[in-house]
Symmetry: C2
Subunit: 345 residues, 2 copies
């Protein structure tokens, strides 16, 4: 029988002590971590960048096919992605969780293993949080803190006409992974005897369950001394994000379908599901890639980086926002990004 320890046996303070017992501070800026009314950080003449996200069971994740360790990892990573999208370096997080009495200490431990794995990989310190009961479901709230040289942060609203529009990695895979997992869940619920065959789908499933934040790209841009003119992360689908940058920068935009990076595994999965791969990239969400604009003269510095694709350019606002399709058509770009409020729970 699997081990099961009731969380109520520890009490809240015992639980916090238990969950934070192995923390080792990684950042000099972390003056005081977990264990007091608040944590203290000292950014030594840098600016502090803050971002926060809430993840709710049944809305943002399904514990039927999400391993808790991956969930812990992803909860951290999606917040770090926001910090990188400011061109900043994440340094600390706080993590609050609420969970029902159904959750055992072993389960919570698995979740925190993922949290600590992400903290270690990205060099951030867990400096605080809260644990509490919920009436139903697992709820996660993460706040990420980062640092940046004063006024080097990159907003969404500062793209310039003529700037190149770039995106990192590839798009649509996380959505296809989710589609596959949802399909297999449905099959399993209808015929519990059938074992799902996910063997050759590890890429798209991995992109859904264990995304990474593009620290490597921020490092690369710094090495190349490129400061993007605008940047954000791709969490809600490419088209929605492009329209955010265009609208907030008061510009038009031209996007080329053929330039949108899509992995071979994603194309094959899309084909199987009978979905257009481009639609997955435009509207799928949860890719956690970086979308940024930069001056044309920086093009030579990025051209050899296979992780960066130039997918279009920023135009005058009078030109609107359009996508040029592979078939030679020109369509108005519309946001069909993931919207938590329209989602079926």
């Amino acid at each position: 029988m699997e081990e099961r320890t009731e969380i109520s046996d520890l009490g809240e303070f015992g639980l916090i002590d238990y969950l934070t017992r192995n923390i080792e501070i990684q950042n000099a800026s972390t003056v005081l971590g977990v264990g007091d009314d608040a944590a203290v950080i000292d950014h030594f003449g840098k600016q502090t960048v803050i971002s926060t996200d809430m993840l709710v069971e049944g809305i943002h994740f399904d514990l039927m096919y999400t391993p808790l360790k991956h969930l812990g990892y992803k909860s951290v990573v999606v917040n770090l992605s926001d910090i990188y999208a400011m061109n900043a370096t994440p340094t600390q997080i706080t993590m609050s969780v609420a969970f029902s009495n159904k959750v055992s200490l072993e389960a919570l431990n698995e979740f925190y293993e993922g949290v600590y794995a992400a903290c270690e990989k990205y060099g951030v310190d867990l400096i605080g949080g809260d644990t509490s009961n919920s009436q139903k479901g697992f709820i996660i709230s993460v706040t990420a803190i980062g640092e940046i040289t004063p006024d080097q942060f990159v907003r969404r609203s500062t793209a310039q006409k003529g700037d190149l529009l770039c995106v990192t990695g590839d798009l649509g895979a996380a959505f296809l992974g989710l589609t596959l997992l949802e399909r297999e869940k449905k099959i399993f619920l209808e015929s519990p005897g059938v074992t799902p065959d996910l063997e050759d789908q590890t890429y798209i499933i991995g992109r859904q369950l264990k995304p990474e934040a593009r620290k490597d790209i921020i490092d690369f841009l710094q090495e190349q001394e490129i400061i993007p003119t605008a940047m954000m992360d791709v969490s809600d689908g490419l088209s929605s994000e492009i329209l955010h940058i265009a609208k907030q920068s008061n510009l038009g935009v031209v996007l080329y379908e053929e330039k949108i990076p899509i992995a071979q595994e994603s194309k094959e999965a899309a084909l199987k599901f009978g979905i257009d791969p481009t639609a997955c990239a435009l509207s799928g969400g949860e890719d956690y890639e970086l979308l940024f604009t930069m001056k044309q003269q920086d093009y030579d510095k990025i051209v050899l980086n296979e992780q960066i694709s130039v997918i279009g350019y920023m135009a005058d606002i009078t030109e609107g926002a359009h996508i040029h399709t592979k078939g030679g058509n020109k369509f108005k770009l519309v946001a069909q990004g993931w919207n938590a409020f329209n989602q079926e729970a």
Copy 2:
């Protein structure tokens, strides 16, 4: 009929725009607020203090008797209390909420009115957050950020033997307010026709529904140039907090029952309910007063402040932790503080 606007009509971004439309930045340290991947703060050579709390419907609050505006206010205040308890000044908060489809825009608006009222009163900027659906119930996660002159923050673990043990305001009223509200709820559920008479109970109800953080005390201590040797806020009941300071400072403690400040209204309410007022103060929780220790030579500076009571002193660890009762007895001090994990939901 009451107006009701569905939140799904706005979409997530529309909702965030709507809820944050009136924000005016109050702190020079707020370089960039709501609307990008992250906010940016610049503390100009100060240290940054961070605290976070999660509040869950049915666990931490009951919407049957909690007005949403008060809930918004309290959600902010309980976090600011943690920042003050570090001897720091709160400057920014992030606010994440998850709510079911039952919640209308008007209801959410009321909640945010309370949030903004607290922000204005305490001079903090709302710089970010997240809004999302929940499967059930209203969930609130707040992170508060504050600033302090480097290394002037006050921990729980630094009390010294012989220090005076002090507490602000009065204790137990919030618990008595909760007891009253729960009793009236029960009566109402059993006999819906009976209108509750809460008229002469405004003090204890107010302490429960709309607590304040002790900014005034932090200001006073700074004016008097007193730096407490240890400090925390009283959220879980006095005895639990005293034991935190004693344990973390590796000290014993002597507490005098007769010195524990309890309001006349609380004494009367306790009498009505047949509860010992001292038990309410020791174990009640949610008072959000400040508990601190200070050097004996600072006594003259606080003696005239009616908002500060000296309730005991820190002793050698070999003396243990004891309370001297009014009746002349000496009992071991035990933590019976509020514990979210043992609470009946």
